[in-house]
Amino acid sequence: MSATSHAHHDEAGQAPLVGSLGVDSRKLGLWAFIGSETLFFTALITTHLIFYARTKAELTASGMLAHLDPKHFLGINLTSVLAAILLASSLTMVLALAASKAKEWQKFRFWLLATIILGSSFVLGQAYEFSHLYAEGLKLAPQFVYEGETVKSLFGVTFFTMTGFHGLHVTLGVIWLIAVYFKVRKFPASPENPMDVELVGLYWHFVDLVWVGIFTLIYLI
């Protein structure tokens, strides 16, 4: 993304692309985009909650909830590790930003690489989780098989759609992080660097934030 700015703001000493509101244009755009994405993920999570409530009600009515609750598929151990990874990556991200602002480029590279590695581990962990769930009988289909019994439920469909789109966002975030890593390496002197880092950081924290929601609403409750 690039942005034009006012001639009268191009004076030396000003941060790049600061406009009439006193903020960076790209940062403002990204925050608005995050606002929009909030509604996107809320719609996906809401869909999941509505259908899970229905499955739960049906299983309760047939007295099979304790045995066949699709939540049994979701192992808390792996997910807790994934949540911890994403949370840690948020910390490394913000440390990378602090380093970039302090122009400590060696530190910056270390923390950004750590973020990239943690992000990639999350994606790999999710891929492992998905293949595991598929093998166990939870598929992208309007029924699941648990211990030999087939249950009509949209749990698999809503779960994979929701977490899949989150995973896609994490993947795009990792690609963006890598791009920023190389950009800063190529142009270490550019005064735009802290803002480039801040932007990818905002996106990255947002992706973490969505996982905070999914972790609580889908895995724990």
Partner: protein, 110 residues
């Protein structure tokens, strides 16, 4: 121009957080996550309502921590708060509205 002053203010806000501060926030968030997992493991003993209440409070605290300190929404320009909190309000309204409507036919309450 009064509007331009906000920029300098939020620039200062950034400086205020040192790396120590981020480590502290990170540690608190890690502790919250640990507590969440812990109460999940003992949820049968503390009752469903209490479990839900604690979990919601902890998750909101965790999310708020990420947004306020890692994303620097606290102390940053007002406009960022506006373009994030307004849609967040819409999102929560939509979620609650949908869950209420769908409780009529086998939703959360049914």
């Amino acid at each position: 121009m009064a509007e331009h002053a906000t920029h300098d203010q939020h620039a200062e806000a950034h400086e205020a957080h040192g790396t120590r501060f981020y480590w502290m926030v990170g540690a608190i968030l890690a502790i919250i996550t640990t507590i969440e997992v812990a109460i999940f493991l003992v949820k049968d003993t503390i009752g469903h309502e209490l479990f839900l209440a604690i979990l919601f409070i902890l998750s909101i605290a965790k999310g708020a921590g990420v947004v306020m300190f890692f994303m620097h929404l606290r102390g940053d320009a007002r406009i960022f708060q506006l373009v994030f909190i307004v849609p967040l309000t819409f999102a929560v309204t939509m979620c609650l509205g949908f869950l209420t409507i769908f409780s009529n036919y086998g939703g959360i309450a049914g």
